[in-house]
């Protein structure tokens, strides 16, 4: 059911950035969440073992989804329940209205179900004249306010108590003070009446067990327990992805879901209902006991197609804990509503796309910056950024890129000489706004980009024009040869750092070559989903690197390293010949700091303690730490220089650059940078070391305007200085 939405995401983002209530709430929550989560796991031997167990079980489930659904249906029906299978939301509504009509239903209570939000059920029921009430406190307040949940677990996190009191007043037509305890007790009184007088209860399900037809519900308020107890009819709306094989498998979800979702070892209530259960009520003036009616609706709405998709089936590993949001730097800035109003955050983008709304997906999919923070905690171990990349690539393949992007990528980036000429022209054109190595102010409508952050200037002489001289210093009897893949940033913005890389390698008795035919690694285009252009660029680089015949390929940019090492292989997975060539190149690629640390160890090298007296902190690049798994080695190298190493708070949190994101969404990028600068400032370090030129650009630009006493240096620069000291 594709819904065409006309939205202005930019405007929505600006509104959210200006929403001080939401900004305050999200900042507080996201800073407290990581420790609270770990505390909940303190009595568990290995979180990763639990995650592996869950993933294995859920992978089995998706691979057997048809058989599981049949077994689940049989189990429910054997116990006296009725099962429907609904292809989409329209079918669910038809089935439900039929149930209501057959049973003379007038009043309905609901317990939080994202699936009903997904298909916009409430409106359809109300249009049919039914009285429908959400019973989760947050959901109830939002339904009164005409808003949607902004988080799967904390639906009203974007509001404060004054706003909540306003919604209470609006609904109850009485004065309600903004006193939380008063509001809770008012909600209890009002909703109690709803529970007691409802004819039918609707719930979602956290899981459905094929073995015995039970559904599981996890709540803290207990509303799901009441919705499944007081009304005479129970309707369950459950997506196929919630099905699990056995009763004992529920434990695999329950040991992770509450801890990750709400930082609790268990929620107040975990309820399982298998088949119709007894109800006692007054019938014709007499108390009677009979079994309630149970209807289960299995919802497809794109889920079954996803289950058959080798890559996208990984969304079945999601248990809807929403912890991917809680650690997402972008969600923390823009909140949940911007993502499409149903499922928010990274997983939300994927679900929105898979559940039939690729148009909405395409609008906000670039709000994932690929920092991979979510992948470190997702209970189901879902590679969320990879799935977003995949969906984006499919979208671009089907609908194409927008015109300016198309021009930039397909007509400029694929022609190395044109691209590089433009960069050279840029180095001249920027002169009027340049101040030293930075562009401090841009005129007119570009000014937002340099507000609070300087942009680096394009160097007068790129690295590629300096390497001929540099390579003259190659050792006579080298232990090995290295091809240096610099990446655009080091080539045209930070060529001095490129020189440092060459010096450090030469000092290790390694001969360096710089293939002139190398071009952009392709990450910017691949990130936008344009894999066809990405392949053209990848082939140019593979050929250029092969031609060197070098023993290793060194990159001092983690994004380039990751792209050469991992992405090229995947790009050519269906092309036998190019895949073999990509694999051969990938086998030689080494990230600079980890390679150097390894060589120093192997050669028993020490460094002159040139940095003694200086205080250095280190910022982890997302691609380096979580993409390549390299984080200890740069720290070891810094300590070798004799510097006083000091760890900063949240050293592995994104600096906000994230490739083109930092420029396209500069309004989101800057507050993220601001937090990073604050953490750097608190260390009292005189130098912040990085191992990624993009982070160097972002942090350096911020320091240039906001804290110029602190310098940013690539680890290569710090090492090169030590060598110069010899």
């Amino acid at each position: 059911m594709a819904v065409k939405e006309k939205r202005n995401i930019r405007k929505e983002i600006h509104n959210k950035l200006d929403d001080n209530v939401m900004q305050g709430a999200l900042a507080k929550f996201t800073s407290e969440y990581p420790m609270a989560r770990l505390k909940a796991y303190a009595n568990v031997d290995s979180i990763d073992d639990l995650r592996d167990d869950l993933r294995t079980m859920k992978r089995w489930a998706v691979d057997h989804i048809d058989a599981l659904a049949d077994e689940f249906q049989h189990s429910v029906e054997e116990r006296g329940g009725k099962v429907f299978r609904a292809a989409d939301g329209d079918e669910v509504k038809k089935i439900l209205l039929q149930i209501c009509e057959e049973n003379g239903v007038q009043r309905i209570v609901k317990s939080k179900s994202m699936a009903t939000e997904e298909i916009k059920l409430n409106g359809a029921l109300e249009n049919a004249g039914l009285h429908v009430r959400e019973t989760d406190l947050g959901e109830w307040m939002l339904s009164v306010a005409g808003q949607k949940p902004s988080h799967m677990v904390m639906p009203a996190i974007h509001l404060n108590k004054e706003q909540c009191a306003g919604f209470f007043e609006q609904e109850l037509h009485e004065e309600v003070p903004s006193d939380i305890s008063y509001m809770i007790h008012t909600a209890r009184r009002v909703l109690r009446e709803e529970f007691l007088h409802a004819d039918l209860g609707i719930t979602g399900a956290n899981f459905g067990i094929a073995e015995n037809g039970a559904i599981g519900l996890v709540t803290n308020e207990g509303n799901a327990r009441l919705v499944t107890t007081t009304p005479k009819i129970h309707v369950v709306l459950i997506g196929y992805e919630k099905l699990i094989p056995k009763v004992k498998d529920a434990a695999k979800i329950l040991r992770l879901l509450p801890r990750n979702g709400t930082c609790q070892r268990m929620t107040s209530y975990m309820t399982m209902v298998s088949g119709p259960t007894p109800i006692i009520y007054k019938k014709d003036g007499k108390w009677v006991e009979e079994n309630r009616k149970q209807y289960v609706i299995l919802l497809d709405n794109g889920r079954l197609a996803a289950a058959k998709d080798p890559k996208m089936k990984q969304v079945y590993q999601c248990v809807r804990c929403a912890s991917c949001l809680n650690v997402c730097p972008i969600w923390r800035m823009v909140g949940g509503h911007v993502y499409g109003h149903i499922y928010s955050g990274g997983i939300g983008a994927i679900l929105t796309g898979l559940l039939g709304n690729m148009e909405a997906f395409s609008k906000f999919s670039d709000l994932c910056i690929g920092c991979r923070q979510c992948t470190t905690i997702c209970p189901g171990e879902i590679p969320i950024p990879d799935l977003i990349d995949e969906l984006r690539a499919r979208y671009v393949k089907k609908y194409g890129l927008s015109m300016p992007e198309k021009t930039a990528f397909q007509h400029i980036l694929t022609h190395r000489k044109v691209f590089h000429s433009l960069l050279r022209i840029g180095s001249v054109a920027q002169k009027p706004v340049q101040s030293g190595k930075f562009i401090r102010h841009l005129p007119l409508f570009f000014s937002g980009m340099t507000d609070g952050r300087s942009l680096p200037a394009i160097a007068a002489k790129p690295l590629r024009d300096r390497t001929e001289d540099l390579c003259k210093h190659n050792p006579k009897n080298p232990v090995m040869t290295a091809a240096f893949f610099s990446g655009c940033n080091m080539d045209f913005v930070f060529p001095d750092t490129g020189e440092s890389v060459v010096k450090v390698l030469q000092d290790l008795n390694i001969a360096v070559t710089y293939p002139q035919e190398q071009t952009c690694c392709g990450k910017p285009v691949l990130g936008m989903g344009d894999r066809d252009t990405g392949k053209v660029i990848a082939k140019q680089n593979i050929e250029a690197l092969e031609a060197t015949g070098a023993d290793v390929i060194i990159s001092a940019c983690p994004t380039c390293a990751e792209t050469l090492e991992r992405t090229y292989k995947e790009l050519f997975k269906d092309d036998v010949q190019w895949r073999a060539r990509a694999e051969a190149v990938a086998g030689k690629v080494r990230e600079f700091t980890s390679f150097v640390a390894e060589q120093y160890k192997a050669q028993g090298r020490t460094l002159p303690q040139a940095e003694r007296g200086s205080r250095i902190t280190y910022h982890d690049s997302c691609h380096m730490r979580r993409g390549l798994g390299v984080w200890q080695q740069p720290r070891e190298l810094i300590k070798m220089t004799g510097a006083d190493f000091v760890e900063m708070k949240d050293s592995d949190r994104c600096c906000g650059m994230a490739g083109a994101f930092g420029v396209k969404y500069s309004e989101i990028s800057k507050p993220i940078l601001h937090d990073k600068l604050e953490n750097i400032g608190n260390t009292k370090a005189d130098t912040v070391a990085v191992a990624c030129p993009a982070c160097m650009m972002q942090i350096g630009g911020g320091l240039n305007q906001q804290n110029p006493s602190v310098r940013v240096k690539h680890v290569a620069d710090i090492l090169a200085e030590c060598i110069a000291e010899r």
Partner: protein, 205 residues
């Protein structure tokens, strides 16, 4: 009273899994979840503690289930009946008076060390409303009926859970939906009290 399993210890408990050695962890975690945990050596002691609690909370109307299975509990419920206080134990009476009752008393099958949860077999309607509608819920539990974690809890449950309504309770009803401030007693009980008894229950055959 309808249950998922009429006799959990006989049908579901496995000595390898169910043991009093998980008590300390249970006690720690259940208190962390805001459960009021009371430990009694004998049923006699438990009765005195219950009488004290009921007196303090000035409960007038009480719903009580589980007395048929456990004669000691059944006697306790009788003893609670006194001037001006009514204890409902019949399922239809419970259904009728549940919305106004001050206190619900029921039983749990076992506790879970890792989470501080109690497993409740609430296949009957009366046991569910007893635990959900009154502002306070008291649960009786045998202190050595403990499992290590949620995983072992489900290994026990899997042996008998074929049909019906059951789950865990871990502390009182709570919400943090307004400004993430923790508030108790939103829809269910605001007080959740577990009375754990060392002395084995004498079950009716």
């Amino acid at each position: 009273m309808e249950k998922v399993c009429a006799d959990w210890p006989a049908k579901a408990f496995d000595e390898q899994l169910v043991s009093g050695k998980y008590w300390d962890e249970f006690a720690e975690n259940t208190k962390a979840a805001a459960t009021e945990l009371i430990h009694a050596g004998t049923w006699q002691e438990a009765e005195q503690l219950l009488q004290g609690l009921v007196k303090d909370m000035e409960a007038k109307e009480i719903l009580a289930v589980g007395g048929e299975e456990n004669p000691r509990l059944g006697m306790m419920y009788q003893h609670l009946q006194s001037n001006g206080r009514t204890v409902y134990t019949d399922k239809f009476d419970i259904a009728e008076h549940a919305p106004q009752a001050d206190l619900g008393i029921s039983t749990a099958e076992f506790g879970v060390g890792e989470s501080g949860s109690v497993c409740v077999d609430t296949a009957s309607y009366e046991s569910r409303v007893t635990g959900m509608l009154p502002p306070t819920h008291i649960v009786f539990l045998q202190a050595d009926h403990m499992v290590k974690n949620i995983d072992t809890a489900f290994r026990v449950i899997a042996k008998v859970y074929k049909k019906g309504y059951m789950g865990f309770i871990t502390g009182p009803s709570r919400t943090a939906d307004i400004e993430r401030v923790l508030s108790l007693g939103v829809h269910g009980p605001g007080r959740f009290i577990v009375i754990a008894v060392d002395e084995p229950a004498q079950r009716r055959a």
